[in-house]
Symmetry: C2
Subunit: 247 residues, 2 copies
């Protein structure tokens, strides 16, 4: 088993850093080969721009990226990240929730690494949502939040954490073909939960990585019509919002 952790936190003495180290230790104890992309420590370039590929005449950024992909003219740091993903069976994204999503450096990792050709390739019926280059891998988010559990519940003022993570879990991880496990959410980080309890919870989830049931996001090839609209009657009556896209 190979597990790749993509990690973003500005402080190496943080709770996040401690949880990352616990995760590495637990996974190695389970016999996994573990790789870590510590984005802050790597000073990972966060901004996707024309420096990410060779010279181009193409004014359309996404198309230019695809052209560069075809020619193999992608920045070396991007290629290195892609290679780590391809080599992994499991991919873990670990980050503190900043403004209800990933820190910018991790968004930049997504923007740059899941480039046109690797993360997607536009065509008439392109492979995505349950299919794609990264199919066969399992992904899991490990996120810490200052907010309490109740604030991130459905009736909580911030909205349900599962819905807040939908654009990442469904729109990035499942999109590129990975099966997505329910997230490990450490709420009330730093004030509400005890460190040993957090670690125990995280360890439990890592020990059961292989048998945990993934979120049942609907596959493009199964539940949608030719306009990529959910087929009528697939959902339980009364279902609305993102829940429509979970079987």
């Amino acid at each position: 088993m190979r597990t790749h952790i993509v990690y973003a936190h500005p402080h190496n003495g943080s709770l996040n850093a401690a949880l990352r180290d616990e995760a590495v230790q637990t996974l190695e104890g389970l016999g996994h080969t573990v790789t870590v992309s510590d984005l802050y420590a790597m000073d990972f370039k966060a901004v996707a721009d024309y420096d990410d590929f060779g010279p181009t005449e193409n004014e359309h950024f996404m198309a230019a990226a695809g052209e560069a992909w075809d020619k193999g003219e992608i920045a070396e740091d991007i290629k290195a990240e892609q290679a780590k993903l391809l080599a992994a069976n499991n991919v873990i994204l670990q980050f503190p929730l900043w403004w209800f999503t990933v820190p910018a450096i991790m968004k930049g990792w997504m923007d740059r690494v899941f480039t046109n050709g690797f993360g997607y390739r536009p065509s008439r019926d392109w492979k995505r949502y349950g299919d794609g280059l990264l199919a066969g891998r399992r992904a899991m988010i490990v996120v810490t939040t200052g907010a309490a559990d109740v604030h991130l519940s459905e009736r909580g003022i911030n909205g349900d954490i599962n819905d807040l993570l939908f654009p990442i879990q469904h729109g990035v991880l499942f999109y590129t073909g990975m099966e997505v496990l329910p997230p490990v959410v450490v709420t009330g980080a730093g004030w509400q939960v005890e460190y040993p309890d957090m670690v125990k919870h995280l360890q439990g989830r890592l020990e059961t990585l292989a048998e945990t049931e993934p979120i049942a996001y609907r596959k493009q090839t199964e539940d949608y019509d030719e306009h990529k609209r959910l087929l009528p009657g697939r959902e339980t009556e009364g279902t609305t919002g993102f829940a429509l896209h979970i079987a």
Copy 2:
């Protein structure tokens, strides 16, 4: 009227750049003073880190940021962005939808500009969600997507664009006190819509900035209990997900 546009696109010959220029022209024609933060052109620092403030012994990044705020030791580029927001009556965020949210450089703008003390200040009952430092301002997203309209509808495979934008519109813009207008969403950018139609739509929305009804996000002070949970019975029966947080 002062309107501030925060804009992110790597190519100055793009559709986004053209729409930005049309917006500036329209707003100036309406008598607005317009400022633009063109994040790529400014080479805006995308990654929040300890270089954003003076030296600190505080290991907790968010707390350290708050400490620096109190001492006035925040990076000059952040202060400049904050000043533009404070001077504005309207704030427009314009970007291409990348992986169902903003490009990393704009996420970095949020992470860094809405720092502890400016975007929020933790306390027992801190001002946010309809209240906060930026109250009295109107905010609007202008977003272009390669995806077609139907793909970003509720039953569309990507999910409803309004739900996808919820973490930004509710979690950042409304959180910091701004009223949020329905977004201008240019779907099928580059293939499905004609440029003059896009411009006309955008112009119409800019001309009605002042009288457009904001999204009726619920205020922290009105619809939530002491645990920040939506009070029972506030919603129409059967409402679920993010829709619970809209009156």
